[in-house]
């Protein structure tokens, strides 16, 4: 990035401000700048430059002081929440927020693990990159079963935008023609291993409504011109993505949207700028910009623009909106409906089943595949609901061979023991549920009435819990996964409920939802605030329901669509 891209003080009125630089903010900035708007991206954290700042990339374990483990005291003092994320280790911890600096409260008797990534690129550097379209059934679910409000958009509204973002991002996967999981614009899929392929074939015969497919992920398997022009290359299957990828093989802000935005010449970035609130003009009933506290010095400053896109992550965006109070909106900007902060959702990943696979002793694989097996939701419409719960779940998992890590505490000593670990061990498989969480007004975030963070921002108080619906769903997922494994002839089938609190799927959505009715929603069908027409929210906060798929691809599509609308409104003279 050129030096002049980064700004600090500025009295300029930009065409647009984008708050946040993760998957959503990157997309908003790319689309706005490509459409000719002079855009300021405001990021609360430090600058992370592509390649140069991937300080642990390719570092082998023996070069870490604790072989990638993080010292106990450091974890206890600064990363007690973040450590719960599977990807947290000594090679990635610099991309996770520090819990000491980013405190939040939870309502007594509830628990929520809020995973943070406050730097340029946000969670786009850390995401697991699994990419799925929501289906027509997902957009109809609220209306059909009465939980939550009806989405103001349908699948057909988003479908062209999915195609648009997929061609830019690069999604690998297989065409399956499934009603509940529309195909993406795809690059070639990753291969299955031999037992995975046999499992998929067996399920085709005995569980035809539960196809086992290869997961779809934002990794280049056959880069196109669009991607090559940005310096991106084919995935090298290291699966060390969260350290940063200099090949640009997985989609991140740094690898894709940021260079695309920068080459327009319309992008400016204000790093280390913690947005405290939006500047609201009572006279025009519009936002004029953002109030910022410097991440390091705590100095205050303001940035101005004609339109503002909030893309600060579901909870980050909601915190800013709740903290933007005025005479007109005493309970948070654009919150005349009172639903701001309500309907927090995540995915429930608590059901895990593992099994042993006999045979295949001579079969092995090359590489660390960033994809897994995937069983799309088979309870995808009310007529297919299980009688014990509403909505459904997908299953994801992998078959692989045991190794020193899993066999290392086995019995034995000496040359025999060493020889045993020299060869890969038996095959095993795991399937984990990814369950939809119902929208529920009681799952709510508010501003804490006394606790503040070091920037003086009131802390979020999170009150969120699983319902009986999600718990029943997980019990069923155990049964179904076990049954599939049994039919496949797997042995030693073990079921486990993990008992994780909401948050750890890192799919939080819903707290500034879209809707047709301004009395029950914050945003219209174009992610524009009903109450304040030059304020847009296009991150997960805008969701009316979660579906079962990983939400990032939908963040992208919904953002590109919203920008297209906003720019048309600007050009028509109705905005800005």
């Amino acid at each position: 990035m050129k030096k002049q891209t980064y700004i600090n003080e500025s009295s300029e009125v930009y065409d647009a401000i984008v708050v946040g630089s993760g998957i959503t903010g990157g997309w908003a900035a790319k689309e706005l700048t490509e459409k000719g708007l002079k855009t300021l991206m405001v990021e609360r954290g430090r600058v992370v430059e592509h390649q140069k700042d991937y300080i642990t990339e390719s570092k082998p374990p023996w070069e870490y002081p604790n072989r990638t483990k993080v010292p106990h005291n450091l974890v206890e003092e600064q990363y007690a929440i973040q450590r719960q994320c599977y990807a947290f280790h000594d090679g990635t911890k610099h991309f996770f927020g520090n819990d000491r600096d980013y405190p939040y409260a939870t309502e007594e008797g509830t628990d929520f693990s809020w995973i943070r990534a406050n730097q340029l690129g946000g969670k786009s550097l850390l995401w697991h990159r699994q990419s799925y379209r929501m289906s027509e059934f997902d957009f109809l679910a609220n209306q059909r079963d009465g939980h939550g409000n009806d989405w103001p958009i349908r699948y057909k509204d988003l479908a062209p935008w999915y195609s648009y973002v997929e061609q830019f991002v690069g999604i690998s996967g297989s065409k399956e023609n499934l009603p509940q999981l529309p195909d993406s614009e795809m690059q070639p899929p990753f291969e299955m291993t031999a037992p995975e392929r046999d499992f998929a074939n067996k399920m085709k015969q005995v569980e035809p409504d539960k196809p086992v497919i290869i997961s779809r992920c934002a990794h280049l398997t056959q880069p196109t011109k669009i991607q090559v022009e940005l310096g991106r290359m084919q995935c090298m299957v290291r699966n060390e993505c969260q350290k940063g990828c200099s090949f640009g093989a997985y989609f991140s802000t740094q690898s894709a949207t940021l260079p695309a935005a920068a080459r327009t010449g319309n992008l400016y970035i204000a790093p280390n700028s913690v947005v405290e609130s939006l500047i609201f003009d009572e006279k025009t009933n519009r936002v004029k910009g953002v109030r910022v506290i410097d991440n390091d010095t705590l100095a205050t400053r303001e940035y101005f623009a004609k339109i503002v896109f909030l893309c600060a992550s579901t909870l980050g965006t909601t915190q800013i909106m709740l903290n933007s109070t005025s005479k007109r909106y005493p309970n948070g900007i654009a919150n005349s409906s009172g639903v701001l902060g309500r309907y927090l959702m995540d995915h429930n990943y608590n059901a895990l089943v593992t099994a042993s696979i006999e045979g295949y002793e001579d079969e092995y694989y090359i590489g660390r595949r960033p994809a897994s097996l995937y069983v799309p939701n088979f309870h995808y419409e009310p007529g297919r609901y299980h009688k014990q719960f509403k909505r459904g779940y997908a299953l994801a998992g992998t078959a692989s061979r045991a190794d020193w890590q899993s066999m290392g505490t086995g019995d034995g000593f000496g040359k025999d023991f060493k020889a045993r670990l020299h060869n890969p061990g038996p095959w095993g498989i795991g399937l984990q549920a990814q369950g939809e969480m119902l929208p529920n007004p009681d799952n709510q975030v508010t501003l804490h009435n006394s606790k503040k963070d070091k920037w003086g921002m009131p802390q979020l108080n999170i009150n969120c819990r699983w319902s009986d619906n999600e718990n029943a769903m997980m019990e069923s997922a155990l049964e179904v996964s076990s049954s599939m494994m049994k039919k496949a002839g797997f042995t030693n089938i073990q079921q486990r409920i993990l008992g994780q609190p909401p948050g750890l799927a890192i799919h939080e959505v819903g707290t500034a939802r879209m809707g047709r009715d301004p009395k029950t929603s914050i945003l219209n069908g174009y992610n524009q605030c009903h109450d304040v027409d030059n304020l847009f929210v296009t991150d997960g906060a805008s969701f009316c329901s979660t579906g079962v798929g990983n939400p990032s691809l939908t963040f992208m599509a919904i953002t590109a669509r919203a920008v297209d609308y906003a720019v048309r409104e600007v050009k028509a003279g109705r905005l800005g």
Partner: protein
């Protein structure tokens, strides 16, 4: 004390100066050896005393011995474990490990009138096998503490450069995913992982 082996290790780690000290005053020498060796290896033994460290070194050696690739002791797994326990683990786990190493030594003295590291290999293995089976005089709690140590030996060995690259196959940049390949074409299990 298996002096030859200790000598070899000392020579390997510290050069001839330490070896000279070792020959003259054994008990003091052990201390010096470990201090110098650890300085060389970038560790500062702070959890385990010299007797415990020597017991652990023997366990490392017996668990993963030298073959055509180095042993766990040769790649300093005992120093690694001392450092890892001190830094990464809570005090309860540290205490359990220290207590276990003391218990092993005490049982050796009780049965053989010699500390664990002075026993011959057969006697050492016999004690470890009983420990791993939680059979008398060892408890299940002691067995569990041992499994933590054993896990660390294995972790330390296969994340060391020789363990990862010589004993197993380390693929830094695989390049392309191949779902089905004959094991014989790879030759061994992989040491490289997405997450350790």
């Amino acid at each position: 004390m298996e002096r030859r082996e200790l000598l070899k290790t000392a020579a390997l780690l510290c050069g001839s100066a330490a070896t000279g000290v070792l020959l003259s005053t054994p008990s003091l020498a052990i201390t010096n050896t470990f201090q110098q060796a650890s300085a060389n290896a970038g560790h500062s033994p702070n959890l385990l005393n010299t007797v415990q460290l020597e017991t652990l070194r023997r366990i490392c050696e017996l668990t993963i011995p030298a073959t055509d690739t180095p042993s766990a002791a040769q790649v300093n797994c005992h120093f690694f474990i001392d450092a890892q326990l001190s830094s990464v683990f809570d005090t309860q786990t540290q205490h359990a490990a220290v207590t276990l190493l003391d218990a092993l030594d005490n049982h050796a003295v009780h049965q053989h009138k010699q500390g664990f590291s002075q026993l011959n290999e057969t006697a050492q293995l016999a004690l470890l096998t009983k420990l791993e089976a939680a059979s008398a005089p060892f408890s299940v709690i002691q067995k569990d503490a041992f499994k933590v140590l054993k896990g660390l030996i294995v972790f330390g060995y296969y994340t060391s450069q020789p363990g990862a690259t010589k004993e197993l196959t380390y693929l830094a940049v695989p390049g392309r995913f191949v779902g089905s390949v004959k094991l014989s074409k790879i030759g061994s299990a992989y040491s490289s992982k997405a997450y350790y």
